[in-house]
Symmetry: C2
C-alpha cells in the first residue's frame, strides 16, 4: 500500500510554479495577479483567504485583497466585481464563499469574467469543461487529477466510482475522468444518496473517489483488493486527542481500508493540500490566456 502524499506533491508543484514565474519575470513577462474578495469576518473564510494570499507571495504572484463588511450590498459587490473584471492587470478573481444571506452567490459568481474565474465556478467554465474545451477546473477535481498523474496512476479503461454528486467535486470529477484525455478515458459510475446497491458498485471500483462528507462512511467491505482510494472528505469530528478538540476526518475508514489498497490518500495531507495548488495553477494559466 502506497500512501499518496498530497502535501509533498503540492510542495513540488508549488516549486515548479515559482520557477516558471521567476522565468516569466526574467523574460520581462507579466507577473500573474490574483484578486480576492472577502466579505465579513468568518474565521474559516479569513484563514482560507490568508492562505491563498500567502501562497501567491510564495510563488511570486501579485495578489490584491478587497475586504467588505457583512453589511455590503449585492450591488456594491457586483460593482467591485465588474471593476476588477475590467482591470487588465488582474488575471484571476475569486470571491470567498459563503457570502451573507442577503447576497446571491450565484449572481456574484456569474458576474465574474469567465476568463478570470480561477475558481472554475462560473457555469461557462463548467460547460467548457464538460464539452472538453480549455477551461478553469475547480480546485478539488483538478487537485485529484494532479495527484493521480504524479503517482502515475492510469485511469484509461479503469472503472472509477465517484461517491457524491456535488457541483464542486462529484459532478466535475465524473466528467473529467470519463472524457477523452490523458487523465480520463475511464468508465465512470456516479453514486449518491439514492444509490441502492452501493456496496456492490463500490466493490467494482479500480479507483474509488469518496466525496460525500460523511465521516468513515467507506468501510473495508466496500473496497476491492488493490483499489486506489481517494478520500475527499474533511469533516471536523470531536476528538479528545487534539488540542483544538477536533480532528479532520475523511469519508473513508482509513485503518481498515488502507491495507486493501494499492494507493490511498490520508486525511489530512491527501487531497486537501492539492486544492490550494489548483488556484495557483489556474491563475498562472489565466495569465497565459487559455481562452
Amino acid at each position: 500500500m502506497i500512501l499518496i502524499d498530497g502535501k509533498k506533491v503540492s510542495e513540488e508543484i508549488k516549486k515548479e510554479i515559482a520557477l516558471e514565474v521567476a522565468e516569466i519575470k526574467a523574460n520581462g513577462g507579466k507577473t500573474p495577479h490574483l484578486a480576492a474578495i472577502l466579505v465579513g469576518n468568518d474565521g474559516g473564510s479569513e484563514t482560507y483567504v490568508a492562505h491563498k494570499v500567502k501562497d501567491c507571495g510564495e510563488v511570486g504572484f501579485k495578489s490584491s485583497l478587497f475586504r467588505f463588511e457583512n453589511s455590503v450590498t449585492e450591488k456594491e459587490l457586483l460593482e467591485k466585481v465588474i471593476e476588477i473584471n475590467a482591470d487588465s492587470d488582474v488575471d484571476g478573481l475569486i470571491v470567498q464563499l459563503p457570502l451573507p444571506k442577503h447576497i446571491s452567490e450565484q449572481k456574484i459568481i456569474e458576474a465574474i469574467d469567465p476568463r478570470k474565474d480561477v475558481d472554475g465556478f462560473h457555469p461557462l467554465n463548467v460547460g467548457r469543461m464538460t464539452i472538453g474545451l480549455p477551461s478553469f477546473v475547480s480546485a478539488t477535481p483538478a487537485g485529484i487529477i494532479d495527484l493521480l498523474r504524479r503517482y502515475n496512476i492510469q485511469t484509461s479503461g479503469k472503472h472509477c466510482v465517484v461517491l457524491g454528486r456535488s457541483n464542486i467535486v462529484g459532478k466535475p470529477m465524473s466528467i473529467l475522468l470519463s472524457q477523452k484525455s490523458e487523465m480520463g478515458d475511464a468508465t465512470v459510475t456516479i453514486c449518491h444518496s439514492r444509490t441502492k446497491n452501493l456496496k456492490e458498485i463500490t466493490s467494482q471500483a479500480d479507483i474509488l473517489i469518496a466525496a460525500i462528507g460523511t465521516p468513515n462512511f467507506v468501510t473495508s467491505d466496500m473496497v476491492k483488493n488493490g483499489a486506489v482510494v481517494i478520500d475527499v472528505g474533511t469533516t471536523r469530528v470531536k476528538s479528545e486527542q487534539t488540542k483544538s478538540g477536533f480532528k479532520l476526518t475523511g469519508d473513508v475508514k482509513f485503518d481498515e481500508v488502507a491495507p486493501k489498497c494499492s494507493y490511498i490518500t490520508p486525511v489530512p495531507g491527501g487531497v486537501g493540500p492539492m486544492t490550494r495548488i489548483s488556484l495557483l495553477k489556474n491563475t498562472l494559466l489565466s495569465s497565459k490566456k487559455i481562452f
Copy 2:
C-alpha cells in the same frame, strides 16, 4: 415487453404545445418565434430545417429562415447571429450544422445569446444544466427524458448505463439522469470505446441507453432480463428491402434484445421523433424567459 412509441408521444406533446400556444395567443400573449440559419444546400440539412419550420407552423409558432450561400464568410454569419440576438421578437435561434469548413462552428455557437440557444449547444447552457440551473437541454437527451416520463419509467435509484460519451447525447444524458431531480436520481455509469469489461457493466443496467452509432452493437447477452433499453443510434445501413436502398439502423440488435426488455425503443419511431419536439419545447420555454 412494451414498445416505446416515440412517434405517438411526440404527437401528443405537439398537440399540448399547440393548445398552450393557442391559449397564450388568446390571452394576448406573445407568439413564440424560432429563427433558423441555414448555410448551403446540403440535402440532409435542407430536410432537417424544413421539418423544423413545418413543426413551428403546426404548433402556431412564428418562424424565420435565413439562408446563406456556402461562400458566406464567418464574419457575415456572426453579424447575422448578433442581429438576431438583438431582435426582441425572436425567442429561439438555431444554426443548422454542419457549417462549411472555413467557418468555426464553435465560434458561431458561442455567439448565440445563451437565452435564445434552444439547441442547448452553448457552453453556458451545458454548464447551467450540469450545475442544475434552468437551461436549454439539447434535443436528444431532453427527448429521452420525456419518453421515460411519459411511460412512467422511474429513474430514481435505478442503475442507468449510458453507452457513448458524445457532447450532445452521452455526456448530458449521464448528467441529467444522475442529478437530483424528478427524472434523475439514478446511479449512472458512462461507458465508451475505452471501457474494458463492457458486457459485465451493461448487464447491470436497469436502464440502458445506447448512443455510440455502431449498428446492432448491443446484443442480447449484454442486457439484463427486464431492462429498459433506449436506442439512440440511427445509422443508414444499405438494405435491399427499402426503396431508398438504405435502412435506419439502431445501436441495438432489436430482434434478439427486445424479448428480454420491459421497455424498448424501436428505430425508427423511438427516440428520433422526440428530438424534433425538444426544439419546440425549448422555444416555448424561451418565450417564457426561463433565465
